[in-house]
Subunit: 257 residues, 2 copies
DNA sequence: ACAGAAAGCTAACATGCGTCAATAGACCTC
DNA sequence: GAGGTCTATTGACGCATGTTAGCTTTCTGT
């Protein structure tokens, strides 16, 4: 009830359903997808920077991102560190269903549309729809796999390559939900956002963006990336998409329940 | 069957059960713990550096660490990046139960003792013991929380503080399973291991260890850390244990099944 | 159209970290 | 206990990144 804060611009409009359940999609049939759509009880829009969930919050519902991007952030000192990004179709706080309090905050990156599912409904899912429950567990494991990749990226790459890798990852994730356009990737990220994702200062993020431009790898303007050659960008960033399990590596062959 | 490689030094000896199920422990009763102990079908010992599981492996059993430490590693270029550490009582590849292939490797850090649970048994657990299934899901969510903290640490701290934070985390995790000694924390880590965890060169890890010594924060000799003042070390590393959910933040108050 | 605010850009200098080279200490094997 | 190997250590130099300061461009609201 109080977990969602910020300015609500409108609410209660229809879901497209087009990409609903995002990466869970290929593991589920139409019946499952309808079932998930029915779980969503309320839909809201929020503006840029809205703090949707706060570190330490105890929730009684979970949030699915329908439109836009959100950041997972950890605050320390007086600075913000971005530890993850979610794209449409992702549940942003499924872990809040099993863990009492949240270990990080969720902040809107640009305008967002979100749907809410009560934990009570999720409990019913766990009971009645093992397929969907399994797909949801898969989704949290996929988040963990992405976290591990981010750790490696921070350990291995310099700032320009980190930024390139970030966009490469987003491009692949958006491809998986059919949300890409040919030669660009549009985001509302500022250079400060990029800096907070890459663990560098805003000024150095600016240098890094400049280097990508200079090298001809990509042109980034106000968050929007333009490139004629995604393959080159991905090679430059040493990007390998395996960790995103785009081929649907959920074990469904052997029913558990 | 072939997922476990390396030199097996002995096998088939009794479990102590003392810390069995590690961080799951406080969420389970003695009956549950006995049940888990019975799940473990084989116990093996392996030497330092043994590659227990390989990126891309498809497994039909999951591994619990009983003694020692293991690294989660991602290899890229010709270098190894450590993206996580497990301590006794942790399942190291529960995600291999839901995901077809593994996104990273598991390598023994020093000598280890591990137990194996078949995925067939786990399927039975999911059906018959919702309490335990829940605790296992919790364990994978806790891993994700630790991953997020590592991301933040890499973004925020310099090398000396990263090393201090690493030992602070291990100290707290070992406390949770009753495995600490007063003024020290013994590990088999080399400075190269520390470097691969912190994303710096081995030489810089050496400088960082030197700085901790110089500052009087801690003395690290061949992986073993000595300090008279854990609080000071934790303050120096800006360590806050909340992300480890040591108070047992699993939502058990409302049964799901 | 204008003014203020937010975001992007540039330069100069300090520090963290990588690399190379060389040495010293610890452990292992015989 | 001698030799070899792995690990730890030190110094010199260069690049990556942080910090401060100031400036320019773009957005936004009126």
């Amino acid at each position: 009830m109080d977990a969602i804060r910020g300015d609500i611009r409108s609410s209660d409009f229809p879901l497209t359903g087009e990409f609903l359940a995002g990466r869970l999609r290929e593991h589920l049939d139409q019946d499952d997808l309808n079932y998930i759509e029915d779980l969503i009880e309320t839909v809201e829009e929020h503006g840029d920077g809205t703090r949707l969930l706060e570190t330490g919050d105890v929730t009684n519902k979970s949030t699915m991102l329908i439109e836009g991007y959100v950041f997972r952030t950890i605050e320390s000192g007086d600075r913000r560190y971005i530890v993850g990004i979610q794209v449409p179709g992702d549940f942003v706080d499924l872990h809040g269903f099993a863990l009492k309090r949240l270990d990080h905050s969720i902040v809107a990156a640009g305008p967002v549309k979100i749907g809410s599912v009560s934990h009570e409904s999720l409990r019913t899912v766990m009971q009645d729809r093992p397929n969907i429950a399994r797909a949801m567990w898969f989704a949290t494991l996929l988040d963990a796999s992405i976290h591990r990749k981010w750790i490696q990226i921070l350990e291995q790459l310099d700032a320009p390559k980190r930024i390139a890798h970030l966009y490469a990852e987003l491009h692949t994730r958006l491809e998986l939900i059919g949300r890409t356009v040919p030669r660009a990737l549009r985001t509302p990220f500022t250079q400060l956002d990029l800096a907070d994702m890459c663990g560098v200062s805003a000024i150095h993020a600016n240098r890094a963006v400049g280097k990508l431009r200079e090298l001809g790898v990509a042109e980034i303007r106000r968050g929007d990336l333009y490139t004629d050659d995604w393959d080159r960008l991905k090679r430059y960033a040493r990007f390998n998409a395996d960790y995103l399990y785009g081929d649907g590596a959920l074990k469904l062959d052997e029913g558990w329940n």
